[in-house]
Symmetry: C2
Subunit: 311 residues, 2 copies
């Protein structure tokens, strides 16, 4: 098994990514890590940390897609970038999973150009974790892949999130909630009003109805479904609450669970390979967990389970 | 000056509302409070608290619109309800402002049936307060009046919020931000992409571009504009963060500012009279502040200033 890591992605690359690769190496026995990026710089960082480069495979490139670059243009114009190369390797089966803390849009576009969307899936979704006040985790999707959604997209996100929550977080028969502005079926915007009956009729997942903004950290549901605009606003708002609590020196188990470093990143669900996108500000711990999450997606056969669900 | 208060609205009415009216009375010298609802019950509560009923005027009714009732149906079918009567008095000029912690939807429908939308305003908006980390306040709208919005609605919310922030919170030339999922003009969903140029071209308020979920508590803007779906999700999420911090016993000046009790409620902006809707769980302190806010809206001539802005 080979796990690809973009060592050029993220605000603190390649230092944070290479150090993260060392941390991941120490926890992985049955897979080889493939570091994609500037080999010379990586080897220098490894030597500085008394770590043998022989523990990794390398695919060398110095071309990088910047965090602010236009995703589609950059992917097309930079075929030798670490993200483009990573997807090339993934498509050819030379690596079994790929992760990067780089440009999220480029990671999404790259996925759709290379490994492509799973047949039957209209639009892939980006997923994140929401901690529950009583303990445990919930899944929120989409958090930004699709700013505008159709009702069918939300229906599919329910299934994607359900399979993911069950396989990766061992949540049995995950409860899927639709993020809305009222509990009742007749509440909501046009999108939710149309999505509700589709989700209610679905026999592929356990739909529990509407959930509101206040229910996100409760035990009302395990999978929270919304369009990528709403999800992205929620994600960034929740992150800011965590940042504020850290700034304020508030020490609390619940707030600590907002720390993205623990979860390692956001999987892109609905594509034909395991892919995780990390936070731009990822530190080595976050990079390690991103790699471990991508490995978990291989180990659990997540992609083939999703392919089966959409057959 | 006469200020109307629905004493039947809210989860703890009429006790919380009548006690709130007493608190408001103690702070108001130049206006009479008109309590709309069950006079007998109100007088008993006042006697129990050694407070003379002569300090108030009463408009008696025992009919109430429940929190879960369908707004439009309830307003039509219950003309003698405290909300319907309040709006009747407001329309006839017998009271100068009206507030209620009752059914928000009924308050909105009642407003549009009675005092009506200001000419030029396509859709009224419900506004709430967001505290800033560095101190001071921001305004968020719409938080639920319009689940689906057109670009023109967001443009108008910018102006409504701007006039409100300037008059009520003394924010000079308020910076208006569009809640979006990226900072750049070309980011966003279809709605935001269409609203951005309209807002940018507006000479009626100080548009500062896109703001993200993480910017809500920062000093990026004073007025945060979004559709009512997004705003309602944000509002309820933020409220839940406050509830969690209280549960956790976290004492912090910033989190305390989320306490809705301090602000007294959400004004409906864009209608021809000062109207405030309170939180269902309003306690006497919140009711008092709701009444004071509605009085502030009279004192500052907010409605006529908005009417002028939309001429």
């Amino acid at each position: 098994m080979k796990i690809g890591l973009d060592i050029m992605g993220g605000d603190f690359a390649p230092e944070a990514t290479v150090l993260g690769a060392i941390l991941a190496y120490n926890e992985i026995t049955d897979a080889k890590l493939v570091l994609i990026g500037d080999k010379e710089r990586a080897i220098k960082i490894l030597h500085d940390n008394n770590f043998s480069p022989d523990n990794f495979e390398f695919v060398h490139t110095t071309e990088v897609i910047g965090m602010a670059e236009h995703p589609a243009k950059a992917v097309i114009q930079k075929p030798e970038s670490s993200i483009s190369l990573g997807y090339q390797l993934l498509k050819e089966g030379q690596i079994d999973a790929f992760s990067s803390a780089g440009n999220t849009g480029a990671m999404l576009v790259g996925a759709m150009f290379s490994v492509k969307t799973i047949p039957g899936v209209s639009r892939p979704a980006i997923t994140t974790i929401v901690p529950k006040l009583k303990g445990g985790l919930g899944i929120l999707l989409d958090v930004g892949a699709n700013a505008d959604c159709k009702p069918e997209n939300l229906l599919q996100f329910g299934l994607l999130g359900s399979v993911f929550a069950e396989l990766i977080y061992n949540i049995k028969d995950p409860r899927v909630g639709l993020i809305n502005i009222g509990e009742e079926e007749e509440k909501g915007n046009i999108l939710c009003l149309a999505a509700y009956p589709l989700m209610k009729e679905s026999k592929q997942f356990n739909f529990v109805g509407n959930v509101e903004g206040r229910d996100l950290f409760t035990d009302h549901a395990d999978v929270f479904v919304c369009d990528g605009f709403t999800g992205n606003v929620i994600l960034k708002l929740a992150e800011s609450v965590y940042v504020i609590s850290v700034k304020k020196g508030i020490k609390d188990e619940f707030y600590d669970k907002f720390n993205y470093e623990q979860y390692g990143g956001s999987p892109i669900l609905g594509i034909n390979a395991p892919v995780v996108v990390g936070h731009g500000i990822s530190n080595p711990e976050a990079i390690k967990n991103m790699v471990l999450l991508s490995k978990n997606m291989i180990d659990t056969n997540l992609v083939s389970k999703i392919q089966q669900a959409f057959q």
